[in-house]
């Protein structure tokens, strides 16, 4: 039982159908998270990392039709093919969500207290007064001063950092086993980012939850995550334990990402080392390796077929690069 991951995603493919086009933001990706573990999913914006986590739980904007294939198991229960009514019961109860922009994630005309307390009423069958007490407890837990007064306030009366703490409190209110945090620090001031990240890490450990941390910030990954999946153009490029992948990145894309982080020893005014070129727009799946046009290792053969994820010389790390994996068998 201990070995069974809390969330097990295998060969997940997501197609989105809109009035304008059809696109595939997630193409055959697998990963898993255990209880008490934190998995970071890293990639540029538009690499499909948010859709990958939100679509199986039915959180997509209106006007978009989602087609899922593969398998997403939460506590051993298959989510794909589950009716929306069943998935709705899981949201908030088994899985808590934290969103990128706390400025727009809260309802502007409802009091903070109600927005937290309704979670406890809904998922823990609490009476309104018990739920109020629970809300107060949660607001204290996420480290907000003067909690009684905050509960009576409206979102616009709080700063961005405080609002994100409220969003976290809402996510925790249903006592979920899994927390999905979508770029939780991106929209915040730099000074607040570290506090929020520390808070997230702290509650995750204290409540022994599993956490999926979606981010494009390698600094966030290093500070918080145990494992990492690097996404590029809807596919997983590399995955493995954070300490191994960050220390010795194997995939040229991961290397590019890590290389792009400014270092202390960089002379002032030195040129920014970004990856050249731009990521492909999502649409129909690309035939060969999606990174080929931007890759320094690229050989003509890269365009022939999609590179499979292959176990590297370190058995914990999987890499999808035909050049790096030369002579190795698919995992």
């Amino acid at each position: 039982m201990h070995d069974e991951p809390l969330l097990n995603v295998s060969n997940l493919t997501v197609n989105l159908l809109t009035a304008k086009s059809a696109l595939r933001p997630v193409d055959d990706v697998s990963y898993s998270v255990r209880q008490g573990e934190c998995l970071a999913i890293v990639g540029e914006s538009g690499s499909g990392k948010t859709v990958m986590n939100f679509a199986p739980l039915g959180l997509m904007p209106t006007g978009v039709t989602t087609m899922l294939s593969g398998s997403v198991k939460l506590e051993g229960r298959e989510l794909i093919g589950l009716p929306e009514a069943e998935i709705q019961k899981l949201r908030g109860k088994s899985v808590g969500f934290i969103f990128q922009d706390p400025m727009s994630a809260l309802n502007p005309v409802r009091r903070i207290g109600r927005q937290i307390a309704e979670m406890a009423e809904l998922h823990l069958d609490m009476t309104p007064s018990a739920a109020e007490a629970r809300a107060l407890e949660l607001v204290k837990l996420v480290g907000i001063s003067d909690p009684m007064a905050r509960l009576r306030q409206y979102p616009h009366e709080l700063s961005g950092g405080l609002r994100q703490r409220i969003v976290i409190a809402i996510a925790l209110a249903g006592e979920p086993k899994l927390l999905i945090a979508d770029e939780p620090t991106t929209a915040l001031d730099v000074t607040v980012q570290a506090q929020i990240l520390r808070l997230l890490k702290d509650v995750q450990r204290r409540l022994n939850m599993a956490m999926v941390l979606i981010t494009h910030d390698m600094g966030v990954v290093a500070g918080a995550a145990d494992n990492i999946v690097v996404m590029y153009a809807a596919r997983a490029a590399e995955c493995g334990p954070v300490d191994k992948v960050l220390v010795s990145p194997r995939h040229p894309y991961t290397r590019g990402l890590i290389n792009a982080i400014p270092r202390r020893e960089d002379p002032i005014g030195s040129e920014f080392r970004g990856l050249p070129g731009i990521p492909p727009t999502l649409g129909a799946p690309i035939k060969g390796c999606a990174l080929q046009p931007r890759c320094e290792l690229a050989v003509p053969a890269c365009g022939n077929s999609r590179p499979p994820l292959v176990r590297s010389d370190d058995s914990a790390v999987l890499v999808a690069c035909p050049v790096v994996n030369q002579g190795k068998a698919a995992a």
């Binding site: 709705q88 949201r91 808590g96 969103f99 502007p108 809402i170 249903g174």
Partner: protein, 311 residues
């Protein structure tokens, strides 16, 4: 809060002053000699002597400013002068008529609110499905059918064909239903679109994704999350519609033989009874200004964002 209310009250007073100026100027600028007109309306031959007598009587020979001050002073005290046509006290006529028109507008406002909320929610609950299309079709029909035609259809259906309700008169709730419904059709149609579009816009905002992530169902999201967000918009639109009801009252009151302000105004226009036109116009304008004031205060109560700007 207090600051906002006092500021808003001052604004209303300025508007009232402007309204009084408009009403006064309208009558002063009327073509032809009013005194001659009055003399003729009274059936007398407009001899220069008699005209002068009339001028003296209604103070036409005083300077304009004095006339305005006199008139305004009287109006504030509720004295709107004497009808040129009937010679009766306009204020006495108006007192009862305001009650009639008030009944008409209040009842219609309630009906329009209920119908529009029902239709709007129906559409928002099943967007682009059959209930939405029906609600949309009804709204288009309601917004496009002339009020007098609606009234005629109501009378034909409920009074002539089924003989359920009286087709005219103002005695008791049973006689109020048809006029209420007739006036309510247009605002109900317009407001149902306000509700429908407002809810749809609220339902695509990011906080609805949060609500979904909490595990709330569609009904709960519509009522708990989206409804509070459209309340200020709805109150605003309702205010406009209630203002417009004064205009439809002018059409509907004569149709159902109700002796209201609208009917009085129309008679005043028909017989060019300036004192009546002026008094009714002033009452209408005051009504708009008061409705707007109430709407602004109600929006202040329902939208914490605006409340904060003024606290």
């Amino acid at each position: 809060m207090i600051h906002f209310i006092s500021k808003r009250l001052k604004h209303s007073l300025v508007l009232l002053f402007m309204a009084s100026l408009v009403c006064f100027t309208l009558v002063v600028s009327a073509p032809g000699n009013v005194a001659v007109l009055i003399a003729e309306l009274r059936g007398a031959v407009a001899t220069p002597g008699y005209v002068e007598q009339v001028e003296e009587e209604i103070g036409l020979n005083k300077p304009l400013l004095m006339r305005y001050v006199d008139w305004l002073g009287d109006a504030v005290r509720g004295d709107f002068g004497i009808s040129y046509r009937t010679g009766q006290d306009v204020s006495a006529d108006l007192a009862n008529r305001m009650l009639v028109t008030g009944t008409l507008i209040a009842g219609s406002a309630v009906i329009a609110t209920l119908i529009s909320l029902a239709l709007g929610f129906l559409g928002a609950f099943w967007p682009y499905r059959l209930p939405d299309r029906v609600s949309r079709g009804l709204a288009l029909l309601g917004a496009s059918t002339p009020t007098f035609f609606v009234g005629a259809l109501m009378i034909y259906a409920f009074s002539v064909t089924f003989q359920l309700l009286p087709s005219f008169g103002f005695d008791g709730p049973k006689s109020w239903i048809l006029p209420w419904l007739t006036i309510a059709v247009l605002p109900a149609a317009v407001l149902s679109r306000v509700v429908r579009v407002g809810l749809e816009e609220a339902m695509v905002s990011p906080f609805v994704l949060t609500a979904k992530s909490k595990g709330l169902g569609r009904t709960a999201i519509l009522f708990r999350e989206a409804l509070p967000n459209i309340t200020p918009i709805f109150i605003n639109a309702l205010g406009t519609q209630v203002g417009l009801m004064t205009a439809t009252a002018i059409i509907v009151e004569p149709l159902f033989a109700w002796q209201g302000v609208g009917d009085y105004f129309l008679a005043g226009v028909r017989f060019r009874d300036f004192m009546v036109v002026q008094a009714c116009l002033l009452i209408f304008l005051t009504f708009f200004i008061v409705v707007n004031l109430i709407v602004d205060l109600a929006v202040l109560l329902t939208d914490p964002r605006i409340r904060r700007q003024w606290s």
